[in-house]
Symmetry: C2
Subunit: 360 residues, 2 copies
């Protein structure tokens, strides 16, 4: 009945107006639900629209309202469940307020991020949520923020930018968990991360990631408080693919004065590390203790279940979206700003080290 007219062009207000025998302006008013329209005309227009199965062109609408009802989300890697969950929080919240989400993956590459931000701006998104690949190269984000376009940072902060940021403070939890490891007798604690740097880690070097920097600060502080020297040589960055992670793991476990505990920087890297440990025939926690960031469901299934640092990732996504939408609506930021804290979930992968050198 009504599904004819599948010619070429889409149906426009003008078509509906003609069918309803009113002016384009009246039809637009009736359809867009603004201005004054008599009941009779409204009904006639709506009926015609229905008959022609008219659908408004949101692009055209955005053109002169200036609002696209779309927000851009830029993350390093959606494949990582950490971001998967955060993205879920964002999309759920955005949808509730009538916003759509354009998702861009940067592979943690700043150049890609710069590009992504530009493209999204060109598409006139109403605002941006970015998990910055770098906490140092942030001029592009700075520009966005200064231009007044709504922007919320997620998961990591960027240099000295005053943009709203939804991230957990890593220093405290890192400090807490390191102290826990120290109290369990560990001194040789390795920290393995995918963070790309130009040179191997040395104390005090400027790190691209505020997250990692905070974590290392927290570790160092804990070591210092307990008057132990921080094992700089066990901080391993640039852990890329699974193979390089395995190599690094073997390295820190087989070196002369090996690590007795390993901290994995995220859930993805953790998989390869645990696998490498198993391949070496070592037992957790008897031979090596293990601690990881991110509390994924599978960490409860291993034997023993893994001790993790849980982060409220979904909630951060929700908060980021909410904050962004407030900005878009011209509302002031929520005060006080929401705080997110990570918690140490002690399961079974951290063991007590009796003497300094237990393993033969």
């Amino acid at each position: 009945m009504s599904s004819n007219g599948s010619r070429r062009r889409d149906i426009t207000v003008a078509d509906v107006a003609k069918a309803a025998q009113v002016s384009k302006a009246q039809a637009a008013r009736a359809l867009g639900n603004y201005g004054a329209v008599s009941e009779e005309v409204r009904e006639r227009v709506l009926a015609a629209a229905e008959e022609l199965s008219y659908r408004p062109n949101e692009l055209a609408r955005s053109m002169n309202t200036g609002k696209s009802h779309t927000i851009g989300v830029v993350v390093g890697d959606i494949e990582n469940p950490h971001f998967g969950l955060a993205t879920r929080g964002i999309t759920d919240t955005a949808k509730k307020s009538g916003f759509n989400v354009i998702l861009v993956n940067t592979d943690e590459d700043t150049a890609a991020e710069v590009d992504a931000v530009r493209v999204l701006l060109d598409k006139r998104v109403d605002g941006l949520i970015v998990a910055p690949a770098s906490s140092v190269e942030t001029q592009h984000l700075q520009r966005v923020h200064e231009s007044g376009r709504p922007l919320v940072l997620l998961d990591r902060n960027a240099g000295q930018m005053e943009a709203e940021t939804m991230a957990v403070s890593m220093a405290a939890i890192s400090h807490e968990s390191t102290r826990y490891l120290l109290q369990s007798g560990h001194r040789r604690i390795a920290f393995i991360s995918t963070l790309r740097t130009e040179s191997p880690y040395r104390a005090g070097m400027l790190l691209d990631s505020s997250q990692i920097a905070e974590r290392l600060d927290g570790m160092q502080q804990a070591f210092q408080e307990q008057e132990h020297s921080f094992p700089e040589d066990l901080v391993r960055l640039n852990a890329g693919d699974a193979e390089s992670i395995r190599r690094i793991t073997r390295d820190v476990l087989l070196m002369p004065d090996p690590a007795t505990a390993i901290v994995a920087s995220d859930g993805l890297i953790a998989l390869s590390i645990v696998e490498a440990i198993q391949e070496l025939g070592l037992a957790i926690p008897a031979d090596v203790s293990f601690l990881m960031y991110d509390d994924f469901a599978w960490t409860r299934l291993t034997t023993p279940p893994l001790t993790v640092i849980a982060q409220p990732v979904y909630n951060m996504g929700v908060a980021a979206a909410k904050a962004l939408i407030r900005q878009i609506d011209g509302l002031p930021p929520l005060t006080p700003a929401p705080k997110f804290t990570a918690t140490l979930v002690r399961r079974g992968s951290v063991g007590t080290l009796r003497t300094a050198e237990t393993r033969s």
Copy 2:
């Protein structure tokens, strides 16, 4: 220097034209790289654009080119790594061809899916990739396809639609893995899925999901070939949240004639099932055998490592995006259509059942 003029309105071609002292048309030609423009004018315009830091309004551009360089992706749940990976495949591929991705989550709800498709169409996406929540209620997708808008189905097919579909054929792998379980002595094989149905499972009922239907067909066929009767009572659908999954797991394992093997329909559900098994104090595979769909990295870390059915999810995402882009470019579909096959990865979670009733 150049970053002044952060007033209100964005810079447009008209502004650039004025600055370069040429007509709007010439400026547009120089910037859009079309038509004939003298070298001198081109340089003048480009310089002015740079100076004003002009950025084209993609919305306006889309308006009269009809192309938005954006594709819509509709999935049930991005939080599920299965879709996370597929999405990654899609975005990676889309980006290479200059397309952006608008991602919508439906929570496997058809109404939400209908809505998502409508919204994306209103936004004039160039094409759609949909993982249909239902293989039965597909009129909305049918309409999209008939309207000629590029559409590719992912992961599941939808009724009798002739739209291009990138999915693994489930019947074969289900048949193969069921035969494997049967050969290992299992007769009481449970199949647990989140698929929502109005009534409990009974043989031959019409299922909303082609995927699940195929899997059950494969199982039944295997049972039939070996002349064993298919344990209908162990097909459990409507497994919703973690708690209900646990309940179902306990149920099939504690009933009078309990299941000796459980097949989990996806990686998310698998987590809760394994957890429930562990809570019951049962060992895999000594007490219960376990098999799951989706080969996630963590399945290698459990003790024992889990036997899984691996699906080429990333590649399906890539293929879906490629196929969609071909459609958008007006090219015919690749022939032969890419085939995706799942493989049974035998690790350690399926054991041999000596006698019919080993457990006391």
